[in-house]
């Protein structure tokens, strides 16, 4: 299939608005002490923003499965790198030598 379909300008402006709101929200939430939730919320907002950009600005919403697979592969491999590295760091010293 062709990766030609693009969203309308209205969608672009809406996405832009959502991104601005997300940025402000991140900023505001960071000032409120929510304990361990702070970084989680910040990252959740960042992920949402990134998803919006990927889906609409980068047209993945209108693209082939192959493109979606490529994007998914990127995040999958990133997770491999992070989780398996952390599997060492987080379990160090758990078994006492």
């Amino acid at each position: 299939m062709t990766e030609g379909a693009h969203p309308t300008h209205k969608v672009y402006y809406l996405v832009f608005l959502a991104l601005v709101i997300g940025t402000v929200l991140t900023f505001v939430v960071a000032k409120i002490d929510l304990g361990f939730l702070n970084p989680i919320i910040a990252l959740a907002i960042a992920c949402t923003k990134a998803t919006l950009v990927i889906l609409f600005f980068m047209h993945v919403r209108y693209s082939s499965k192959l493109t979606m697979l490529t994007v998914a592969a990127g995040f999958f491999w990133l997770m491999i790198l992070i989780t398996l590295s952390l599997s060492d760091y987080l379990t160090r010293g758990v078994i006492k030598p």
Binding site: M1, H6, T23, T26, T70, I82
Partner: protein
């Protein structure tokens, strides 16, 4: 699809190895995505290392992060989001073949990108003045102000403050490595934009052929996404107290 109304085998931009414009566009777009995949992994290596040290030296990361002026980062985030919007509109204009709009939106994107880099330069200058550049090459890393703030504003003991401040060196390593690599991508993006602007001026892009603008857009949005993550990771680790 929009570009299948006319025959696509005799367009001047068709290169020999492809059968038609559709195949050419699909291959180029997919190629760009594969390239962005490598970019994810390149930044990913930094993100993984960042995460490991952040868990290890959380206090220092908070202190280092809090010493950065968040206003600049906030402004820059908005600037970059704005540039993403203008880029998306430029792609749309190219797709419709409206030359004037292409040029306007590309120039707007470049202006916003330059503003971003300008703000970045101001921030780097601040870091230089504050002796927050890690390593001993430009100047000696001396986070005395961070230690001072920790004592004054956070009520830390002088000993704890100096030890935390000393460790902010690792945080600033990541600050400069990540924002530096990102800024490098921005500069490459601006070069790309200039090239697109010239070609747009020649009226090369239209409904049947706008792949370069589309690819430039993909690249630019990717750089934007990296910043969307960098902003909370570097500027907002824990802002619940302090300045």
């Amino acid at each position: 699809m929009s570009n299948s109304q006319t025959t696509t085998t005799d367009h001047p931009a068709l290169v020999h190895q492809f059968d038609d414009m559709v195949q050419q566009k699909e291959a180029s777009t997919f190629g760009m995505w594969v390239f962005l995949l490598t970019e994810i992994m390149m930044f990913g290596g930094l993100f993984a290392a960042y995460l490991i040290y952040r868990l290890k030296y959380y206090d220092a990361f908070v202190a280092g992060s809090s010493s950065i002026d968040v206003t600049w980062g906030f402004i820059n985030t908005l600037v970059l989001i704005g540039s993403s919007l203008t880029m998306a509109l430029a792609v749309s204009a190219a797709q419709r073949g409206v030359r004037r709009q292409q040029q306007v939106f590309l120039v707007l994107t470049m202006v916003l990108g330059t503003v971003f880099l300008g703000v970045k330069a101001i921030e780097y200058k601040q870091k230089y003045d504050e002796h927050h550049i890690p390593g001993g090459f430009f100047q000696t890393f001396a986070p005395t102000d961070i230690a001072h703030d920790l004592v004054e504003k956070e009520g830390k003991t002088p000993e704890a403050a100096s030890q935390i401040a000393e460790r902010t060196q690792i945080f600033f390593c990541f600050y400069f490595a990540m924002t530096g690599l990102h800024a490098l991508h921005m500069i490459m993006g601006l070069v790309l934009m200039t090239w697109l602007l010239v070609r747009a001026g020649h009226g090369e892009f239209g409904p049947q052929y706008y792949t370069p603008v589309e690819l430039g857009g993909l690249y630019w949005h990717f750089v934007d996404i990296v910043w969307i993550y960098l902003f909370p990771l570097l500027y907002l680790i824990n802002r619940t107290h302090g300045k």
